[in-house]
Amino acid sequence: MANIVIDRIRKNFGAFQALKDVSLTVNDGEFVSLLGPSGCGKTTLLRIIAGLESESAGDIRIGDRSVAGLQPKDRGLAMVFQNYAVFPHMTVFENVAFGLRMQKADEARVSQQVQKAAALLHIEPYLDRYPNKLSGGQRQRVAVARALAVEPKVLLMDEPLSNLDALLRLEMRTELKTVLQSSGTTTIYVTHDQTEAMGLSDRIAVMHDGEIEQVGDPVDIYNHPATRFVGGFIGNPPMNFIHMPVTGGHVIVGSERFPVPPESGPEIILGLRGEAVALAQASEGFQMRVRVAEPMGSHLLLTGLIENQPVRVILPATEKVASGDVIGLKPDPARISWLAPDSGKAYLAAAA
């Protein structure tokens, strides 16, 4: 296997800068997701790593060698595409065997590798079929099997589950995780679906406007977003951002006082996850005017206003709250994020 070093990669399309000095290190055997909205540059970065697109500046190293300027065939990687890109004029067996045959592997090894990949992805019954006879999920398995059969140093995946329905996506996600854990392949996975990224990744790189906003393990990114964008993009519902005045180094919420970072100005943004609150008396904590209460089965989702600012919070399904109620919410101090109102960046640590 191999580690990947992405060093200050820049990509321009005319005057438009799609990637702005992006740097990232992916360790050997690690699964890293590039997560971000459409147009943030994640697919462009993946295509540059693959060699399907050239970089305007910067370097990429796979293992101990620079691959900048090398053809895709010389990079020792495999790729799975959003639209699967299985070859329609070949059977499933021929598709999975294709990369190996191009490497001039002997037929015994080809057969062995195909059977191994097919078993791993549960496609043995379909080896003699053509892709048009397969469902979307089966085609996706074929695409993954084809990529894994060549035992690549690096596996690149570009939104491979986005064309599948919700239930199949969940099933494939579990399967992918199992398969990739057992193969130990270094993987870079592009997605705009934060649930997918959270569930699959060892680490997530959140991208926005051609830059990496934050890199970290899923739990860390969820609990400690580095920017307002990250907090708002990750989590369902997204993190709530409440602009609050700072009084004597504290933010006063009902009867409670929360110390803020010393470098903060007269105003600060309090970032709060929807589930990081507990129901309290209306006089305690935040006062929330509930606009909509949605019983979701596993929890109760409330949409309303705190300090005249829109918020969404999650309470246990057993709580009795209705639209129009005014309730008190006590935030968990350990789970509050403090962000600068101008830059949207998180302060590193709150005051003691």
Binding site: A50, G51, L52, Q71, P72, K73, L77, A78, M79, F81, Q82, N83, Y84, A85, V86, F87, P88, H89, F98, G99, M102, Q103, Y130, P131, N132, A143, R146, V150, L156
Partner: protein, 221 residues
């Protein structure tokens, strides 16, 4: 009329030879033009677009005449004396050019109909550019191009009759000579029609089999 059977057979041989050579060279040239037409270099793709535009915009008969008389003028200019170009060579060259102009557009459409992800998937699996073309794009392109290409071939069989104007003894020329010498145009032209009809019918049958043989699995029921 029966005295002309041998001449009709000789003419048929020439017709088939012109067809086979024009079709083969025209296909190769058309494929090359189609590939170049998709070039990222604007000057190259513009030249190819102009080529197909001109060829499809000028009548076939004119292209044959221009090739024949233009070729003669060119050879004469090069050698300094009068050299008339061979009618067979002129016919094959002219029909190759005509065929390639139309074939290029058929192939270009078929190439563009192959999903772009196919090329990238192949590149990511370690294929060279040539391998991508021969192992991935062309096999998928053939079934897409085949129906229109077969129609073009049938048109080419009929277009071979135009070469008679530059003196090549093909089926049409034999019919023309026979009709004039025996002053009986109807039987000769009916005989020529029957020969062309037989050729196109045989071609249609062959192409049906080809289409069945080369249809993409994705297009089979």
């Amino acid at each position: 009329m029966y005295a002309f059977v041998d001449q009709f057979l000789s003419g048929l041989k020439n017709t088939l030879l012109v067809f086979a050579l024009s079709c083969a060279f025209g296909t190769l040239l058309g494929l090359l033009i189609a590939v170049l037409r998709n070039s990222t270099r604007k000057s190259v793709s513009s030249c190819m677009r102009a080529y197909t535009g001109i060829i499809r915009g000028v009548p076939e008969l004119l292209i044959i005449l221009l090739t024949y008389f233009g070729g003669t003028a060119l050879l004469s200019a090069i050698t300094g004396g009068y050299i008339e170009i061979n009618a067979f060579a002129a016919g094959v060259a002219a029909l190759t050019v005509v065929f390639s102009g139309y074939a290029a557009e058929i192939f270009r459409g078929a190439i563009n109909a192959v999903a772009p992800g196919q090329r990238e998937a192949a590149a990511a699996l370690g294929l060279s550019n040539a391998q991508i073309w021969f192992l991935i794009i062309i096999p998928q392109m053939i079934p897409i191009a085949l129906p229109a290409f077969c129609n073009l071939c049938i048109s080419l069989i009929k277009d071979t009759s135009l070469i008679s104007v530059v003196g090549l003894t093909d089926v049409m020329r034999v019919a023309y000579i026979g009709a004039g010498s025996l002053r009986a145009p109807l039987p000769f032209y009916l005989a020529a029609s029957a020969i062309y009809l037989a050729l196109t019918s045989l071609s249609l049958l062959s192409f049906r089999l080809l289409e069945r043989r080369y249809s993409l699995p994705a297009m089979k029921g």
